[in-house]
Symmetry: C2
Subunit: 435 residues, 2 copies
């Protein structure tokens, strides 16, 4: 018998990262946090999923998982996996909760945590790492996992199937390559906005000696500051390494164009999140104005409908899918397929807590089964908080090594869960001066 889901447990886990200005950018300064889900079954097998948040408000996402969990509890895994698009719609078209989205923000992030928890359970049951589990699914199974609602004007089920079938040649070679060499990564650990110039220089040198060849820096609203920091980064990494810039949505459309024209001299490979993640037409206007610099976005794109339009409008040259802001694996799949159809490389968003663990699977699966190229592909890497994971990602020579343990690599160590639970865990009690 297929395992029956008996309970969904949700925990509010927070790491006090704001104390060190890690993760500081033009708009965010947070405590990296996770709404952490454990899907329990009657066989004892469990699945884990999380969605990443930035500290305060994590409790709201926890409440949202509780509001959604009745769609999961009591069902057998095989019943869910036999109708994955139906499962997705059970969660996203709930006739009362839907009003609170639809398919965006807190409710959709909670949906992503739950859906990823079920996929982790499934991969563990199959005894495969998530990327391998996905790569072993037939084109028909992948297509059946997708809810095509609102995207058929850009990608039909038949087109999706044709893309997947056209990539079947060479899958084995690409899988062997991933196991042998891994997937190319870039580092964001060097250029946080809150770091001093000295710290940035030191981190750049360290990163180069570790083999990194692509570096991301944060930019803000002050152009002089951006110029000074870009010159510093470029001086450290030289002209042959890649420099990416990340504005974290701090500009209006005209401001983004002006800033990037002034920063073009530093040869940025991409400008990430130049403006509101909701502004498809704005991104398109920026891309037209600043070509050949390329526009990238995705970490805060709410769902497949916005990504669809970003592609239709030629608004982006890199698609930075996130693993848990949208509706989990089910919604990542159509985004990867639309990117392939429109010829835009996928360079996933990572960092935070658990995002690197998640996205390595997405990038490796994308390479094996959909994207089928490494050209212009790099997956983000940030060296934070990996020590809390049972199966932490491993990066060697600036490449993600394909994970081999079953599941989605997102299970957190029990002792870390207990220590960082908010507000009652040991770490938080100590920070708040409670014995």
């Amino acid at each position: 018998m297929s395992p029956k889901i008996t309970e969904v447990q949700v925990r509010d886990i927070r790491f006090p990262t704001s104390l060190d200005m890690d993760g500081s950018d033009s708009l965010n300064l947070g405590d990296y946090s996770a709404t952490y889900v454990t899907v329990h079954t009657d066989t004892g097998l469990t699945g884990n999923g999380l969605t990443f948040t930035n500290g305060r408000g994590n409790e709201i996402v926890v409440a949202a998982v509780h509001a959604l969990k009745h769609h999961v509890i009591g069902r057998r895994l095989a019943e869910i996996t036999g109708n994955l698009s139906g499962f997705f719609r059970d969660l996203t078209v709930d006739n009362q909760l839907r009003w609170l989205g639809p398919e965006k923000g807190i409710l959709h992030m909670a949906t992503g945590a739950l859906i990823n928890g079920v996929w982790d359970l499934w991969a563990k049951r199959e005894g495969k790492p998530m990327w391998k589990h996905l790569a072993d699914m037939s084109p028909e199974q992948i297509v059946n996992a997708i809810d095509f609602t609102y995207i058929t004007d850009a990608l039909t089920p038949d087109e999706a199937l044709a893309i997947l079938k056209s990539r079947e040649d060479g899958k084995e070679e690409r899988e062997a390559e991933m196991l042998r060499d891994g997937f190319p990564a870039y580092t964001t650990s060097t250029g946080w906005l809150g770091y001093s110039d000295d710290k940035v220089r030191r981190l750049c040198r360290q990163a180069m000696s570790d083999g990194w060849t692509a570096f991301k820096m944060k930019v803000g609203r002050n152009l002089e500051d951006n110029i000074r920091r870009a010159a510093l980064m470029r001086e450290e990494i030289g002209s042959n390494r890649l420099l990416m810039m990340d504005a974290n949505q701090c500009w209006d459309v005209g401001e983004a164009i002006d800033q990037m024209k002034a920063l073009a001299v530093f040869d940025p490979w991409w400008i990430e999140e130049p403006t509101s993640p909701d502004d498809v037409l704005g991104h398109a206007a920026i891309q037209r104005a600043i070509t050949p610099i390329r526009v990238a976005t995705g970490e805060v794109v709410q769902n497949r409908v916005i990504f669809k339009q970003m592609l239709q409008a030629n608004a982006i040259r890199f698609l930075q899918v996130d693993s848990c802001r949208m509706g989990g694996v089910n919604e990542v799949l159509p985004v990867l397929l639309m990117a392939a159809k429109f010829g835009v490389p996928v360079c996933p968003h990572a960092g935070g807590v658990g995002l690197c663990e998640y996205v390595q699977h997405i990038s490796i699966f994308d390479y094996i089964a959909i994207g089928a190229s490494l050209e212009d592909r790099v997956c983000e890497y940030v060296d934070h908080l990996h020590e809390h994971f049972v199966d932490p990602c491993i990066v060697k020579n600036a490449r993600y090594i394909a994970p081999t343990r079953p599941g989605y690599s997102i299970t957190i160590k029990p002792e870390s869960l207990d220590a960082y639970e908010f507000p009652g865990g040991r770490v938080w009690r100590k920070l708040q001066g409670v014995a």
Copy 2:
């Protein structure tokens, strides 16, 4: 001294409307609910705001208000009203909570409830109904209330000021007209999807005898059903009254075009929410394909950035702003101004609980100070749940009569709050069989 905000109280209020299929459409069947905010001050004066939800999940929005309320508590009203755009940004650019939006979904709805609560407090302090309080603000004060972030490519502060100044002529006459005649309304009470044909016929006849001249019907995915119901409605209301159709997002882009081509024979004045509220390009494609039928949307549009694009892309011919899905009055203002700039009439969304009470103020203010025309303007009206309000909207001869009591008309009677509080109120205890 200006009142100091001492406390923000939040209550989970739900009305069991799903029992009668009121409000049923292609995707929603809910219990009309409110996340109900009371802003208390040290003078005893209070302000109320609510955001409308559809039942389950209301507790998540309540949690979101609690997460945001520290931005309000402890401040004096005059400090807030002296820097309204700054106040808006305190709530929307919180450096940890922002990750959960930004400016969309649950977090933004909670923001709207809080912001409207402060505006209600302010209008009550001034002793004016909200529409009059807004109409009496100077063009400069209105512009200073707006956060122009992400919209300067469509509307600059100077342009906004010019629009407001250009409408100063005739303001007094339009105000007198509103007090005398009221603002034109249309009714949605006749055509809910869950109603029987007989009930629809009966409601149409009743509505015509009450003086209604514009009627909205719900449509779904079944074309035959839509045709049958449209024929019935058209037969009842005749060819000279306006018939609007509302798909509540149930179609993909191609499907919307096919359906509306088939339904064109019934001469619909508009098609509302033909597809995903996030799909700017999709709405534009539908509008191009089905002209002269006009596309309308807005009740689920998440923020000013999506409305901006809907206007830039010529995607809609009616803008249906909602009073509490976005960031309250502060965000309604730039949307009204952008609509005026692009020449698109504003026909606000109402219904639910409290939305009619809210939007009458928006429509009347828009007419007096921004839109300055009644051509193609109708404000939605649904005859539900008004009896619970201290100052319920009054509709006579299919027109909203301008309210005269101070505030935003959104204060619910204490006895209704107690009876419908979820889950402990009398009504819910009875429904759940608890003594």
